[in-house]
Every structure is written in C-alpha cells, then in structure tokens.
C-alpha cells in the first residue's frame, strides 16, 4: 500500500448525548482527526458486543462507544447496562490478545463538544502508537496456514498409501475470510 496507514475508528454514539455533542463540535467548528466513523444508536444500551467484535473483525483498529453520563441516560439506565457488558467484553478482548485501549467507552454529555474532540484525537494518537490491528489480514493469513497444513497432511497421507481404518482427510475448505 502506498498510502500511509492511519487508524480506523468506528464509533457508536447515543442519540441524546454523545451524537448531539458531536453535532455541537461541528457547529462550534472544532477540528479533530478524520479517522472516526460515527454510527448513531438511540442509546448506548443498544450496543451489542457483537457490533464491537464485528467492527474489529472487519478492519477497525479501534471502537469508541459514547453514552450519556451516569444518571443522565435518556432511557434511565441504558448506559449502566452498556457499562456492564463493556467490562466483560474488555476482559474477553484481552484474552484474545487485543489491547484494551482499542475499545473505549466515554460518557459525553450533549454540552461536551470539546470532549468529543479530545477523546477522538486522543484515541487516534493512541491507536497510531499501537499500530494496525489488521484482523482481516490476520484472518486471511490464518486461513492460508490452515489450508497449507491440511494440504501437507493430505500429501503425506497420500505418500504413505491408503489407510483402510481411517477415511481420507476431507477436502480443504476455501478460505473463509479471503
């Protein structure tokens, strides 16, 4: 790739606080890094951990979740529900070898346009330091490895001659993530 690498951030912002804060940042003409792609949800409570995993799997280098401050949720306590899921997910991601800084939860009220700017800039810098996550590429590599391995086994067994007790190794599958 000729273009210089720059992190991709997928952001899930709640409609009432953080999305509005991002609008406020716009109206106030604050300038921040163009790496973030904001997806609007009604409440941070709607953020399914699968969204975060899917975003990372599809090439995001980081995921930012924005919700109302504790006690301010438009839906009473959706943000607390998100917080619980988020804490669990972070532990799981750590087990998977994904740095915890890549997934960030921030409480940003509708008045905090400045905080939107700060958080996005900070996160962009952090991700730049961490480097690309590159899960799609890793998936493709792993697929290739598995296929190569399967081929090797197949070749070896073919060389050793047919084994009557065991059926032949099944056909190697096509790469899933290619």
């Amino acid at each position: 790739m000729t273009k210089e690498w720059s992190p991709r951030i997928v952001a899930f912002f709640c409609n009432w606080c953080t999305y509005t804060a991002a609008d406020l940042a716009g109206v106030s003409r604050l300038k921040y890094a163009p790496n973030v792609r904001i997806i609007r949800l009604m409440c941070s409570g709607r953020v399914d951990p699968q969204f975060i995993l899917d975003a990372l799997a599809r090439g995001a280098d980081g995921v930012l979740i924005g919700g109302c401050h504790p006690g301010d949720c438009h839906y009473v306590e959706g943000n607390y529900k998100m917080l619980r899921r988020f804490t669990l997910l972070r532990r799981m991601l750590a087990d998977l070898g994904i740095e915890p800084e890549r997934v960030r939860l921030e409480w940003i009220s509708a008045a905090e346009g400045e905080k939107v700017k700060r958080v996005i800039n900070e996160m962009t810098e952090q991700l730049k330091a961490l480097g690309p996550l590159g899960l799609p590429r890793k998936f493709a590599e792993w697929d290739r490895e598995v296929i190569a391995l399967a081929r090797e086994v197949q070749d070896r067994e073919a060389a050793a001659g047919p084994c009557p007790e065991r059926p032949l190794t099944p056909e190697p599958q096509e790469a899933v993530h290619a």
Binding site: D23, I39, F51, A55, H74, G78, K81, M82, E112
Partner: protein
C-alpha cells in the same frame, strides 16, 4: 414482504449546503462513487437539498425512476431528518425507506483535509447505502396528549407562562418552592430602563394567578418525582407543611399581631436578612397566596430537636395566642405534615430561575467583613418603600454619635462581581450593568450621594438601555473603567478615615486610584441554582458546561429541551432580563399550547418487538427494561413487549442471547451493514 437486494432501487443525494459542505467535501466525487455501488439507481449532488426545489427533486425522482429507497448526505439528522422523511412520503414512499448521512456536523465542519474529508463522506454514504437496503416500512404511532400543564417555578417566567396557558383555557399547575410566588422580581424596587415599580407591574399578575380558575397554585411545594413521557407525565409534588390550612386562612394576619413574640426577631428571608419577622409570618405584603406560614425552626410550639425523619416535634409549650386570635377560623394546625400529591400532565415548563452570586467568594471586596458592603439585592430592598427601612437608605455600620443611623454621602458600585471572571464565573450576567445604573439612579435620588460605578465594559444591548446610560451620565454619576482590586478600611489620608477605600486601576486615565466611599454595592452576577443538577435529573434535561439548563438548539429551539414535552423559560436557561424572560415564557407556553391543541404526539416507531419463534424464554431481557415493557407469557414460556410502553432504547435488543429481539430502525442487520459500509474503504 421483505424486499430482496435485486429489487432495491436507491436514490442518493449529496448536498453542498452552499459552501458548508462543498468547501471541504468533493460532492460530485462522492456522488460518482456512490453511483457505482450496488442498488443505487441514481446519484446526484445538489446545492441545497433542504430547499423546496431539493425536496421536489427527490419526489420527482421517486416517481420517474421508481426509487424505493432514498439516502441524503447533508447535515445532522437531528436537524433535517424530518424534512426529508416528509419529502420521501410526499413522493409516495414510506418515510422510513429513508436514511440520512451527516457529512456536515460530523465531517466538513470538523476536518481540515479535503481528501480525507471526502473519503470519510464516501465511507459514511456507503454505510447508509448498505443500511437502507434493509429498511422496512414502518408506521408512526400517535399518542394522545394530556391537556394539563405543569409550570415549575413561580417567578415572572412561571407566572407569565401559567397565565398565558390558563387564559387559553388550559388547566395549569403552578408549583413554587417558596411560600409565595413572585420570585426575584418581587424583591426588586424599580425595573430598568423605564423605572416602573416592580411590584406595580408584578402584583396584578400575581393576584391574577392566585384567583384564576384554571390555575392550581401550590406554593411551598416541590416536585419530587417525574415519570412518563411527552403527553403523559405523572408528577409527584411534595406540599410542605406550613402549619396553616390554606383554604381556611383568610390572610387577616391576626395571628401575626398576637404572636407571643411581641417584636419581630428572626432574619427575614425576603428582605435578605435586613429586616426581621416573627415565627408566624407572611413573606411580604403582596404575597400570593395571602396565607401565613409558621416556621417550625423558631416557633415556640415546636421542640428544637426533630423526629428521626426530619419532621419537627410539637412541644405544645407555647401559650398559642395565635390559635386564640385565629378563633373560629381554625386555620392553624400544628400537626400538619408534608403531603405528597400526584398529578397527571402532558407538558412541563421549567422556570426555576437563578441564584445570585455569593459575594463572600470574592473576599477582597469585603462582603461579610465590612458591614457597609452590600449586595445589589440588599440595596433593592433598602430603597424599597416597603423594605426593612421603609425606603430610607441608611448604613448598617456604626451609627452617628446621637444614635441615629448614618446615611451614605458617597457610594461605589462595583460591577461584574462573579461575572466575566476566570476565578468565579466566565459568563456575562447580562443584567448587572443595567441594574447597577438603575440602583445608581435610585440611590442618588434617595440620598443625593456621589455615586461611582466601577466597570469593565458597559453593556447596554436593549431597547432604551443605551439611552438610560446616557441619562445616568447626564445626572453626574461617575463611571470609572477598571476592575476593582480591593475594598479596604485601611486609611492612608485623613479624608479616608472611617471610610471604605476602593482601590482600582483607572484604565482610561492609566493610574491607580483610591476612592473613599461610605457604602459599597457589589453588582453580583447570576448563577445556576445550587440544586440545578438535581432538578435537571428530575426532568431528564441537560446542563451546559456552565450549569445552566441546556436548550435543544441555541437558536432554533431555544425553549425546547432534549426531552419532548419539557420546555424552559427564564434564567434557568441562562442570564436574562425581565423582557427576555417574559418573551421566553410566552414562547414556552406557545410551544406547549401547540402540542396540546394538536391533541397527539407522533412517536418514532423505533420500538422493539420479540420474534416469537426465536425467543428461548430465558427472561434475561425482562429486568433490563427501565419501563417494565417486557412481559412474560408463563403458559408459552416466551417474553413479549408491550409496544405502548417501549421507548425504543434497544437495551434489551443488545443483550438478547438468542438475537430474538428486533428494534425497528435499528435492526441488527441494519447496523451490521452500516459497520460493513463505514469500513469498506481503502
């Protein structure tokens, strides 16, 4: 029937918004890119999509190109989603076959690099194209509105809003925390710039509120709980015990005259503590309602210790001459308890006002240290004919040798105390320049003293305000430009002996001056009330960084909040003078009226429902719902959602382990495709 990918015919429009978007986003390039995406039949860029021709263009294209999905990339959906949904509907499509991309607030306005901004716009547009293919037709629900209105706060804003609504024939509950309505305005002597007396213009409105058949006035009461949503709020109001039956009290005040305390002894809140009152009192002569109240903190019939729940204990030790005086009327009741009332309203107007800056926070100005340093509100009471001194301006400090109180012969008024100051509050309180000049005029009228104003800038933006300033200049009031350094009683010359010395840099003359005066008036600024954060939570509103309640849009929705059906008026939203407050209260009332008279609210159809076949009956969603909208069918062992109660947050959807809950407009499929879309760039 679910439309398959082949049947999808998307029309895409990217708006230039004049130069707002086009300056940083290459709109034609975005349109060309989107035109190559699957399902896109038509892709255009246009100068102003929200204009009539822009909307007409959408409608025409829907008909001519048989579009069945529309995506517009322009400003924030919070601004124009409604506009475009209506346009799509007018074109003959279901309005929810539309999706909006925010490339102004979230792109062109916040970035500086044209290439990167264009790339971002493409990615966001692609996400919308991927998403909109999954959209389904939805119907807007209509929910009836309860016609009653709750007005919180009985200052001039609340009074005006309540009267406007009541005169339009609506039932209004006006809830005020203090024993009387009137708020800050009732304490003012005159109002700038016309100098008409505050009581003269306010009292008729107050008594109109008191006697209006459509207004239920609850003073000495507080809102403690708010449930529900626009059109259907359930509100709990605590009516604090005043130990007087409001319906039996005639306001004759015989009880006050016959109290065992022959002389008023306790600091009078209404007069800023400058006057005295008895344990049984009426806050001020024009108080509305004309009902006395008893202060259990000082009344002899109560013990000084309290019940564990904080309620006062009746001692019955007093002779109760007040009860005797009340006689057959029997309005006094020492056993009265706080009472909770529940009311149902459709809309709420919050006018909880401000508090004045505590001048003790700037110790250099000596408030609370030198007796002759006053706050502006104290002066309002001091010059008022019904104030603690009967309108005579006399000093709090040492008296004349013959025992008569001294009168000030020179007065310094310090502007911007607790305003425009990094150490206290950053904002301009807007009214201080004008009220300082008003007080300068009144003090000169009352005392003939030399008056010095110390100001940073004189701000007179209002009808007749600059003229008032000119009048003051002609009256010979001195204006010295500079922020005062300190107020001290340390005399350096014989003339300064026994006086307060104001040390200030006169920035026009370029010298530091010492000006000895008899009286110092601090023009204290306006602040959000100390409990603004709690009140905000109660009504589910937001506060700005400075603590004032946040309006939905600073220009286009100045009385709306982010919670539908809750409106703002007066200084709780930010400092403002009386004309602005009244105008805003009228606007808030009009907004409420518009809602009530339409009779219903449209609700976003973004509610959730459970796919019956896929629900495993695990019940994990049920405790998550803050509205108890999820119910469980025991016989079938399946959960189901009462859509009338569902507010559409999607918390249950995000946590359902079997993925059997679907939120309209935010379906899993829609969001996954959006994620795919925003990441599909090189």
């Amino acid at each position: 029937m679910k439309a398959t990918r082949d049947e999808v015919r998307i029309g895409f429009y990217v708006c230039h918004c004049g130069h707002n978007i086009a300056a940083l986003v290459d709109c034609p390039a975005v349109a060309r890119y989107v035109g190559t995406l699957p399902g896109v039949v038509l892709s255009r860029d246009y100068k102003y999509m929200c204009s009539d021709p822009g909307q007409e263009l959408i409608q025409q294209d829907i008909r001519e190109h048989r579009l069945n999905r529309v995506v517009v990339a322009s400003c924030s959906p919070l601004l124009h989603e409604h506009t475009f949904r209506s346009a799509v509907e007018a074109g003959g499509l279901n309005p929810f076959y539309f999706h909006m991309v925010n490339i102004r607030e979230h792109d062109s306005w916040v970035h500086t690099d044209r290439i990167l901004a264009t790339e971002k716009a493409k990615a966001l547009a692609r996400a919308a194209i991927e998403r909109v293919a999954h959209h389904k037709p939805l119907e807007i629900k209509k929910v009836p509105i309860h016609p009653d209105v709750l007005v919180v706060g009985g200052g001039i804003a609340g009074i005006h809003a309540a009267l406007t609504l009541a005169n339009a024939g609506k039932k209004v509950y006006l809830v005020e925390r203090e024993p009387s309505i009137g708020g800050h305005m009732a304490r003012f002597d005159k109002t700038f710039p016309t100098l008409d007396c505050a009581a003269c213009i306010l009292t008729p409105k107050m008594s109109e509120v008191g006697s209006h058949p459509n207004i239920t006035l609850w003073t000495y009461s507080e809102v403690v709980k708010v449930d529900g949503y626009v059109g259907n709020y359930t509100v709990q109001v605590k009516r604090k015990a005043r130990y007087i039956h409001e319906d039996l009290c005639t306001g004759c005040q015989d009880c006050i005259a016959n109290c065992v305390y022959k002389e008023p002894k306790f600091a009078d809140e209404f007069n800023e503590g400058l006057g005295k009152r008895k344990p049984v009192f009426i806050p001020f002569p024009q108080a509305t309602p004309q009902v006395v109240l008893i202060d259990p903190e000082v009344c002899l019939n109560f013990k000084r210790n309290k019940n564990p729940d904080g309620t006062p204990v009746v001692s019955d030790k007093c002779k109760k001459t007040c009860v005797e005086a009340c006689g057959e009327r029997g309005a006094i009741d020492f056993t009265q308890k706080d009472e909770l009332r529940e009311i149902r309203v459709g809309t709420i107007i919050v006018c909880t006002g401000f508090q004045t800056f505590d001048a003790r926070r700037v110790p250099a100005y000596g408030y609370g240290i030198y007796p002759n340093v006053y706050t502006a509100l104290e002066i309002e009471r001091l010059v008022n004919a019904s104030g603690p001194t009967g309108g005579e301006v006399v000093l709090r400090g040492p008296k004349n040798p013959d025992g008569t109180p001294r009168k000030p012969r020179s007065i310094g008024i310090i502007h911007c105390v607790g305003s425009r100051d990094k150490k206290t509050n950053l904002w301009c309180s807007r009214v201080c320049c004008m009220y300082s000049m008003k007080l300068a005029h009144l003090l000169k009228e009352h005392t003939g003293a030399e008056i010095y104003n110390f100001y940073i800038d004189i701000r007179t933006p209002g009808k007749g305000y600059e003229e008032f300033y000119n009048k003051l200049l002609e009256e010979g009031t001195h204006f010295i430009r500079g922020r005062v350094g300190e107020v001290t009683d340390w005399a350096m010359t014989p003339e300064e002996e026994g006086k307060l010395v104001i040390r200030v840099e006169d920035t026009l003359a370029g010298v530091v001056r010492r000006i000895p005066v008899d009286m110092v008036v601090l023009a204290t600024g306006l602040e959000p009330r100390a409990d603004a954060a709690e009140v905000r939570r109660l009504f589910n509103m937001s506060c700005g960084g400075d603590g004032w309640f946040l309006e939905r849009h600073p220009k286009l929705a100045p009385v709306n909040t982010f919670t539908d059906g809750v409106f703002l008026a007066g200084c709780c939203q930010g400092p403002k003078d009386i004309p602005d407050t009244v105008a805003q209260a009228g606007a808030a009332a009009a907004e409420a009226l518009a809602l009530i008279d339409r009779g219903y609210v449209e609700q976003e159809p973004n509610t959730a429902h459970i796919l019956d076949n896929e629900c495993s009956g695990c019940k994990s969603c049920i405790p998550l719902c803050p509205y108890t909208a999820i119910l469980f069918d025991e016989t079938r062992q399946k959960a189901y959602i009462n859509e009338a109660l569902c507010k559409g947050c999607g918390t249950c959807v995000g946590s359902c382990p079997s993925g059997s809950i679907v939120q309209n407009l935010f379906e899993d499929e829609e969001i996954f495709s959006e994620i795919r879309g925003v990441l599909a760039y090189d």
